[in-house]
Amino acid sequence: MRFEATELTDAELALQAEVRAFCDVELVPGTYEPGLGMAGSVDPGFSRKLAERGWLGMALPTEYGGGDRTAVDRFVVVEELLRRGAPVGYHWIADRQTGPVISRFGTDEQKERFLPAICRGEVGFSIGMSEPDAGSDLAAVSARAVRADGGWVLNGTKIWTTNAHHNDWMVTLCRTSDTDDRHGGLSQLLVDLRAEGVEVNPIPFLDGSSEFNEVVLSDVFVPDELLLGAEGEGWAQNTSELAFERGGPDRWLSTYIVVEQFLRECEEEDLDGSVVELLGSATARWFGLRNMSLAVARMIDAGDAPAVESALVKEMGTRFEQDVLAALERLVGLEVAPGSESLFERLLAAAVLTGPAFTIRGGTIEILRSVAAKGLRP
């Protein structure tokens, strides 16, 4: 395992400047409610504006509307959006995860059908992995698709499905046959969230928000052409999908905006030695994590599969998101009001209430340590 620091090229710096100029115009403070990194709000209009500039589906092939650009280019765009709490919710999963997976495993027909729409910011995807009895142990999924004329009939329940109530499609991991190997017999189906038999029930989160859902699938018909990749290869496809999920700036920037907004709103007398020290130590850590994360993007561009490195970054990045929040919360010592007129206070409230999710979503830190440890051999 070796992370190598890399610098942005002149072309990448020019892209960074372009994104910054765009954000300065489109994300004027006070005109939108910033979110915490990838938890930015759902705004299809904003997603389409990004698409117009070629900043969605950046690494997808040009023949399907993508940019054929690098993972580093995508990194440069995404970090600028996340640090401003931009409304990335509508396209986030499709752009980060579903697009690359369809591009890699999908049929030509699926690519033509979905990739251009993803690149135009016109389609939102959900992830149908977890189930009530299959969380970290994903091989325990019991949703089952049975052969039918021209397709599959799908039954089961998915849970923790972010934005299923807004989105159009869900990539659904389900069992299509029984094998002795518990990782065998799994497949991925592209399920239309508006199809007959799909019921989306909100699961209110502890802060009162309801982006989380339970998706109940009752005799949902999925035509043959919506089987993603090969039947029985769902586990391997799913594992490769997770590599797209991990290691990016969304795993260490969730609470960045809380600190930045503190800096904007604080009075000079708030900046005592302890606060200055925290600002400095957090900045050093962001600098280090960003260099690690950028190194992962360069590895992807070099054709490597940095699954272990990504797990290592995600595990430490998400813990840091919580640590910096805890340290700031302690120093500020506010009786936090979620409905405050102060944006800093609203962001702090949201971060405290949703912070435990950082080290759970996309693989718990316990699972990630197991993944990373596999790469630590003599």
Binding site: M1, R2, F3, E4, A5, E7, Q16, E79, E80, R83, Y256, V259, E260, Q261, L263, R264, L271, G273, V275, V276, E277, L278, L279, G280, S281, T283, A284, R285, W286, F287, G288, L289, R290, N291, M292, A295, L312, E315, M316, E366, R369, S370, A372, A373, L376, R377, P378
Partner: protein, 352 residues
Amino acid sequence: MTDQLLIDTAERLFGDVCDFAAVEAAEAEGFATDAWSAVAEMGLPWIGVDEAAGGAGGDLVDALAVLRVAGAHAVPLPLAETGVLAGWLLASAELTVPDGAVTVAPGDPADDLTLTDGLVSGTVNRVPWGSAVNDLVILVDDGDSATVVLVDTASATLEPYVNLAGESRDTLVFDRVEPLASGPAGDGVDADALLYRGALTRVMLMAGALDAMSRLTVSYTHEREQFGRPVARFQAVQSHLVTCAQEAAIAGVTADAVMRRLAHDEARFEIAAAKVVVSEAATKATAAAHQAHGAMGLTKEYELHHLSRRLWAWRNEYGGARYWSQVLGEAVVDVGGDGLYPLITGGSAALG
């Protein structure tokens, strides 16, 4: 970036001359004379020093790469002191670098050394190998001007001390001593610049040591068996291995970032950030490495302490995590909310 051949050469040489027994002996005897001779013969201590001043060619980045390898081998020699610090100070003052090992007074806050009528008086503290090395370079900075002074340690009264790793860090007291040589420090060379450059050397040594410690911990836990299997198979132990690897990785990547920046420009932000990162990494990774090793890691006969004690000592040499966090924090307050992310991404370039 750096000449791989140089790194391989250093790796082989340090592996040969600084094995477990040599590092132990250096601590007992105060200096590793044989190791020094071998390393000096290859010219490694003078890489990056101006050839006109008696250097050995190569540039600063090459010298830093060698320090990283030295850190990984717990090399008990004044490598950082002789070239990167003393060589740099002497060359800036257009003085000639002596042939043997040279050490440097790090600029301890308690120092009170003055240069009056061409004579040196006062105390310098925490001088690495002050008791074993003859030539000592001191930067006398009174705030208005800085002078580089080369003195003979034999002309001082010596109070021997060591750091947590048993490396000598002595106090030397001078009373109207005539320097061997002296001259005004070059442009940009002052007490602050020495602090940054000293921190830079510790960043490199520590990045190397953290990487070696992570590898050592991985191999030990794969050999050591309990409950009928290697302890590395237990999730609780794996979590310590992951911590060691993560901290080694973040230290390594920030050290890389410093070297990349230094290859073409000043790197004050990167050095400050790296010293915070490696110092914090030292604390977290040594704790995890020792926990994973169990009691064996605490014994004199096993090599972990060659790395862990150095990391504990070096983390506070030339400023610890708190000091450098404050330096960075003040820069953050200066740039404000609008400037914070550009600072994280642009580093020193964003400070102009």
